[in-house]
């Protein structure tokens, strides 16, 4: 019987003929783009070389070399075939998975075209993608923690920025671990302000978040200009070294990409798993989500809505602080003004794209991280596409997602609504 319900649900979400056709046309358009934009501008006989060892890796894995044109034709053909099937029959429930597959084929075609007649370090690209996804996904996890309990937090950017600076200062004075802890606590402290404003005083949560963002930019820029520039020893924490997971790092190709990172990447993986398990398989998570969906129902069952929300927002702030510390202690090794550069906001986009699910958000974080990395690399490679366009691509994808093409996202029903107890 539950299967029946699920089928009804999917029929509602995937079944409309319009949506099926739109998806089919999207697939065909991508096939056309591969054929006309990439294949048509590629000369026959040119080869693409992908290096499969990231830079600095000891492992020796042979390069992947192939003729560009036949591959592009094959990829275009595959996409067209999938699109035709989608138009005629439809993939039903698996439509979104198929969309992911087609997008992957398209990206692979794009990379092959970019690297035609040259060589591209594929392993390096993938590893850089993972690294760039770290702060974005941490921001998204912070958002998930808050919004699953019904509090909108657009101050993640500010919490990250403050966390980054505090981590740099304390890291310089007392060592990396103290710096990390201080960054996490700084994020938690700002989140506590947001929590009090939006839960106790029922301030508009967007206004409260905006105020915290502006405050963070102001205070960090001030301290940076006034003190960090003058007293250099305050801004020289160093960075966490990479950890090689013994055994796993020796797996060819995958090993150096996935199993050799600093603690921020492994921290992300651990938090991701914990949060997913916590939200969907524990008492804590059930109550947390209930408060975000229908706080009054939770209240009538004896769940303390306010306490749950305070915990959620403060934990979310600590997550953002951890993400902020990545910039100074995990990446650059010093604090620069406004160095988070909107990653907190992109994290919120990843959260929405990932449908308020930790692993969904990670997937979106990877996509955004990939675009971020590509824009930086391709500018160096001198590709014929302006890097600004590449930077725009994932956000255009986000807008398409938000418009409901991939299926409606399920925002927590009470997201952003302050809870008021009656009768007192």
């Amino acid at each position: 019987m539950s299967n029946q319900a699920a089928t009804l649900q999917s029929a509602a979400e995937y079944g409309t003929p319009t949506r099926r056709r739109v998806m089919g046309l999207v697939f065909l358009a991508l096939a056309g783009a591969i054929w006309f934009l990439f294949a048509n501008t590629t000369q026959a006989g040119v080869a693409t070389t992908f290096t499969l060892n990231p830079g600095g890796s000891q492992a020796n894995f042979p390069n992947l070399v192939f003729d560009t044109l036949p591959l592009l034709h094959a990829l275009a053909f595959a996409c067209a075939l999938i699109g035709a099937f989608q138009l005629v029959r439809g993939f039903g429930k698996r439509t979104n998975a198929v969309l992911g597959l087609v997008a992957a084929l398209f990206i692979f075609a794009f990379l092959s075209w970019v690297a035609s007649g040259a060589s591209l370090n594929l392993a390096g690209l993938l590893r850089a993608t993972l690294i760039r996804a770290v702060p974005i996904t941490l921001g998204a996890l912070s958002g998930i923690l808050c919004e699953r309990a019904g509090v909108v937090n657009i101050a993640i950017e500010g919490m990250m920025l403050t966390g980054a600076m505090v981590a740099a200062i304390f890291g310089s004075l007392y060592g990396l671990w103290v710096g990390l802890l201080a960054g996490v606590l700084a994020g938690g402290l700002l989140a506590a302000v947001h929590a009090v404003l939006s839960i106790k005083y029922k301030t508009d949560q967007i206004v409260s978040g905006t105020v915290i963002n502006i405050f963070s930019i102001g205070i960090t820029s001030f301290i940076s200009a006034k003190f960090l520039a003058r007293y250099r020893f305050l801004n020289n924490p160093g960075i966490f070294p990479d950890i090689q997971i013994p055994g796993l790092v020796d797996i060819p190709f995958i090993g150096p990409i996935v199993f050799s990172h600093n603690i921020f990447f492994f921290g992300l993986i651990i938090f991701l798993t914990l949060l997913h398990f916590g939200l969907f398989f524990t008492r804590w998570g059930l109550r947390h989500r209930a408060v975000g969906e229908h706080p009054k129902a939770a209240d009538t069952l004896g769940i303390n809505v306010f306490k749950t929300r305070y915990t959620a927002v403060i934990l979310g702030g600590m997550m953002a602080g951890f993400g902020g510390a990545y910039f100074t202690l995990g990446s650059v090794g010093r604090f620069d003004e406004v160095m988070t550069a909107g990653r907190g906001f992109i994290g919120l986009a990843a959260m929405i794209f990932g449908n308020w699910n930790p692993f969904g958000a990670f997937g979106a974080g990877l996509l955004f991280g990939f675009a971020d990395m590509l824009a930086a690399r391709l500018a160096i490679l001198g590709v014929r596409v302006p890097s600004e366009f590449l930077l725009m691509a994932p956000y255009i994808a986000t807008m398409i997602v938000l418009a409901g093409v991939v299926g409606r996202g399920q925002m927590p029903a009470a997201d952003g609504q302050p809870y008021e107890k009656e009768g007192h």
Partner: protein, 514 residues
């Protein structure tokens, strides 16, 4: 043996209102005790006090003879009190199991949910009390009756002995209400005690063991179904004699005002909801559309009023083709619409009453000159209408959302009928309203009909259809299965048609559909 529950001298004041004034109530074990009163009489406040959502200003609560303090729902749950709220406290995106276990979860080590164990207990409760649910279903996929069963299971899961049901039948179809009454009996047979809050007189007489009537926060009296009858209860509730029957003269049908031909309409999912429906409504008659909710009535009304596109067929208003016309044009041609969901489609809750009263004419003289609204004229008209239609509001500038349901509906009726209309489309016009408001709105509809207006009445309350209609069309699965004159139509026959049983109802005549 002491009563399972005793409330003594409960008093609750809200700013400017005495919501409960020294109310006493006793509940014996195995009893169904009905708490009867109009909307706003203080029934729900009293029960929210018992459930710990409100704190009383005075008074005491005894459970099984012991005085208890109920400061929160947790206290109430621990004392064995459970409540099904009028607006369900369910989370649509959770499964039945998750909704039931929330707040009282079965866990394995370290707070990890044990859904299996909870589902098992739900199945036990479900079979013991005849509450059919599947623990793995998502609540959003359940019909309203099913959601209500989940709410009741929530109470039983917490081993509540005293169950408070707040207006449980307000959202149910007649069949679902009958199922609920069976469930209520099976609960009391097993020693549970029930407080049944309602304003529907017939239900009280059918099911209650004892009846307590509350009016304006005060206890009016207690009685039993044997000693009471509908008009006596209505008089207690309202404080004056109420005429429950609708008096109307014989209809004088005139020309056809609304003509619907072979209309086809799809629902939100793109499925056929209205499947080739044809009928006419004549001037000076009420055509009632009977049917269990969800058989296409909503889509039919939305299509006629221009809110939902028709897939095929035609709708004509006084000979004008309006199948694809927009709502404003349909309104200007003389059609009035009293929508099914007054809060969502009938009013802008955050606007004052005055603005709500001109939502369909605000752009015309004298309410606008050019692009500028004429507040004076709007307010002046609003004040007149508030008086004419007996809308109980502190002022015409009061937010519409703060009025009671009955008065909100009167705002809509005042707006729609204060124009020279030719057709009134009224969808569930009295759902959730108190006796006084129902009486008033029925009177207004019949008045319109007597003035030569065509009235299309859609209702899932069979009594309402039978009382008001001159002809009755029965809808089943998107089709009109029969149209019959109201005079001489029996409730049983219409009930069978509503359930899709055609052969018996039509006396052996065969029909293809169904």
């Amino acid at each position: 043996m002491p009563p399972v529950l005793e409330l003594r001298n409960i008093t609750k004041r809200f700013p400017g209102v005495l919501a409960n004034d020294r109310i006493n109530l006793t509940l014996n074990q195995g009893e169904i005790h009905a708490l009867l009163g109009e909307n706003g009489a203080g029934k729900t406040t009293l029960m929210n006090i018992l459930y710990g959502l409100y704190q009383p200003d005075e008074g005491e609560i005894f459970i099984n003879g012991q005085q208890v303090q109920v400061h929160s729902p947790t206290d109430a749950i621990n004392a064995g009190v459970g409540m099904v709220h009028q607006h369900f406290m369910l989370i649509p995106v959770f499964t039945v199991t998750e909704n039931v276990m929330l707040g009282d979860e079965s866990v394995k080590v370290a707070g990890v949910l044990d859904r299996q164990a909870a589902a098992e207990r739900i199945r036990e409760i479900s079979s013991a009390y005849g509450l059919a649910v599947n623990p793995d279903d998502y609540v959003r996929d359940l019909p309203v009756g099913g959601q209500q069963r989940v709410e009741i299971i929530k109470l039983l899961y917490r081993e509540a002995d005293i169950l408070i049901l707040d207006e449980p039948t307000a959202v149910l179809t007649p069949q679902e209400a009958d199922d609920l009454f069976k469930i209520m009996h099976s609960l009391t047979e097993r020693g549970k005690s029930i407080i049944f809050i309602t304003h529907k007189l017939r239900e009280v007489l059918d099911i209650a063991d004892r009846i307590t009537v509350i009016r304006r926060g005060k206890m009016v009296g207690s009685t039993t179904p044997k000693q009471a009858n509908q008009s006596k209860l209505a008089a207690m509730m309202v404080g004056r004699e109420v005429d429950l029957s609708v008096h109307k003269k014989a209809a004088k049908p005139g020309e056809a005002v609304l003509a619907v031909q072979n209309l086809q309409v799809a629902d939100d999912r793109g499925q056929v909801a209205v499947d080739g429906v044809s009928f006419t409504v004549q001037a000076g008659e009420v055509l009632g559309v009977a049917g269990v909710q969800g058989n296409g009535q909503t889509e039919l009304v939305e299509s006629i009023t221009g809110l939902r596109p028709a897939q095929g067929g035609s709708v004509r208003l006084l000979g004008e083709e309006i199948t694809h016309a927009d709502p404003r044009r349909i309104t200007e041609l003389g059609s009035a619409h009293i929508p099914e969901d007054r809060q969502r489609d009938g009013l802008v809750l955050n606007f004052p009453v005055a603005d709500n009263l001109v939502l369909n004419t605000y752009y015309q003289e004298p309410f606008s000159k050019g692009a500028v609204l004429q507040q004076e004229a709007i307010l002046e008209t609003a004040r007149q209408r508030v008086t004419n239609f007996d809308i109980r509001t502190p002022s015409a500038e009061t937010r519409a959302g703060s009025l009671s349901g009955g008065n909100q509906q009167k705002v809509i009726v005042a707006r729609e009928l204060s124009r020279p209309v030719k057709l009134v489309v009224a969808s569930q016009p009295t759902r959730g309203l108190d006796v006084g408001s129902i009486e008033y709105i029925h009177g207004r509809l019949i008045e319109s009909r007597d003035q030569g207006v065509a009235v299309l009445l859609v209702s899932s309350e069979l009594d309402e259809i039978m009382q008001l209609s001159d002809r009755i069309a029965v809808m089943y699965r998107g089709k009109i299965v029969d149209v019959l004159p109201a005079k001489g139509a029996s409730k049983e026959k219409i009930g069978l048609l509503m359930a899709g049983v055609l052969d018996k109802a039509k006396g052996g005549k065969t029909r293809k559909d169904a």
